[in-house]
């Protein structure tokens, strides 16, 4: 059953992105940035974690979950270490996505030939 929920939720987020892309002059950069902000906002309201529990991985794949994870780690940092704790732990949980993208794209770039 969670497979169907994943299909519907992930497709719904992509549908929102596509509608914004088609009807306005925004570039994909605008769309992804605003979706990240939306994810952080939903994380503040506390709904995104419930959605992930209900839907499954289909909710952790879209870029909105990036914002949610950022907010969650910032808030847990505040709870454990006060104001400085926010800066301490803000990037803790998203480091998987960022670091893997950096390292593997660097390796693959070195392996390819120079494009003209």
């Amino acid at each position: 059953m969670t497979i169907i929920y994943s299909f519907l939720f992930c497709g719904f987020i992509c549908l929102i992105g596509q509608i914004i892309l088609d009807n306005t002059k925004f570039t994909p950069g605008h769309v992804t940035s605003s979706l990240v902000v939306l994810g952080a906002f939903l994380g503040m309201l506390g709904c995104y974690d419930k959605i992930i529990n209900f839907v499954g991985v289909g909710a952790s794949i879209p870029i909105t979950s990036f914002g949610n994870t950022l907010f969650n780690s910032a808030y847990s940092g505040y709870l454990s270490g006060g104001f400085i704790g926010i800066f301490n732990e803000l990037l803790c949980n998203v480091s998987l996505g960022i670091c893997s993208a950096i390292i593997f794209s660097f390796i693959f770039t070195l392996l390819t030939k120079v494009k003209d």
């Binding site: 969670t2 497979i3 169907i4 994943s6 299909f7 519907l8 939720f9 992930c10 497709g11 719904f12 987020i13 992509c14 549908l15 992105g17 596509q18 509608i19 088609d22 994909p28 950069g29 769309v31 992804t32 940035s33 979706l35 990240v36 902000v37 952080a40 906002f41 994380g43 503040m44 499954g56 991985v57 289909g58 952790s60 794949i61 879209p62 870029i63 990036f66 914002g67 950022l70 910032a74 808030y75 505040y78 926010i86 803000l90 998203v94 998987l96 996505g97 960022i98 893997s100 993208a101 950096i102 593997f104 794209s105 660097f106 693959f108 770039t109 392996l111 390819t112 494009k115 003209d116």
Partner: protein
């Protein structure tokens, strides 16, 4: 008057995007990606006895590697043009933007080209994510305690 006429002519001749078709394609491709990842997660959790958080980390890791690999050695750009937001909105779009800017600027040298332009497209996601997470965290701390 001339300007208005010209504007009307431009509006009439620019091809109108098939919005319904595009959004349907984005919905189905994005949804299929989510469904495949959910099936993978169910396999990892039920067969290999993993925790749910570990399984989703592995899935994100796999998606990032596949997107980088396909962009570097095959035509992932063609797929992005075909499926549009279905591949841009998931985490594959993030990896794709980093990899494609790295490939484009490799010709300018390792430091001034590759290093300086690495986060050209993905930088906005990281910047606004961090800033908004910080601000929302302060709001939550102030209003909810």
């Amino acid at each position: 008057m001339e300007k208005l006429k010209y504007q009307k002519l431009v509006n009439d001749t620019t091809p109108k995007p098939k919005k319904m078709k595009h959004s349907l394609i984005a919905f189905i491709s994005g949804g299929l990606l989510g469904a495949i990842c959910e099936i993978l997660k169910l396999i990892l959790v039920n067969v290999y006895d993993m925790k749910i958080t570990d399984a989703s980390s592995i899935i994100i890791f796999i998606l990032v590697i596949v997107a980088c690999f396909m962009t570097a050695f095959f035509d992932f750009d063609k797929w992005v043009i075909k499926f549009k937001a279905g591949l841009i909105v998931p985490i594959t779009g993030f990896a794709h933007s980093i990899q494609s800017s790295a490939l484009d600027y490799k010709k300018d040298g390792l430091i001034t080209g590759l290093g300086a332009n690495f986060f050209k497209l993905a930088g906005s996601v990281i910047l606004y994510g961090i800033v908004s997470a910080f601000i929302f965290c302060l709001i939550k701390v102030v209003f909810y305690g």
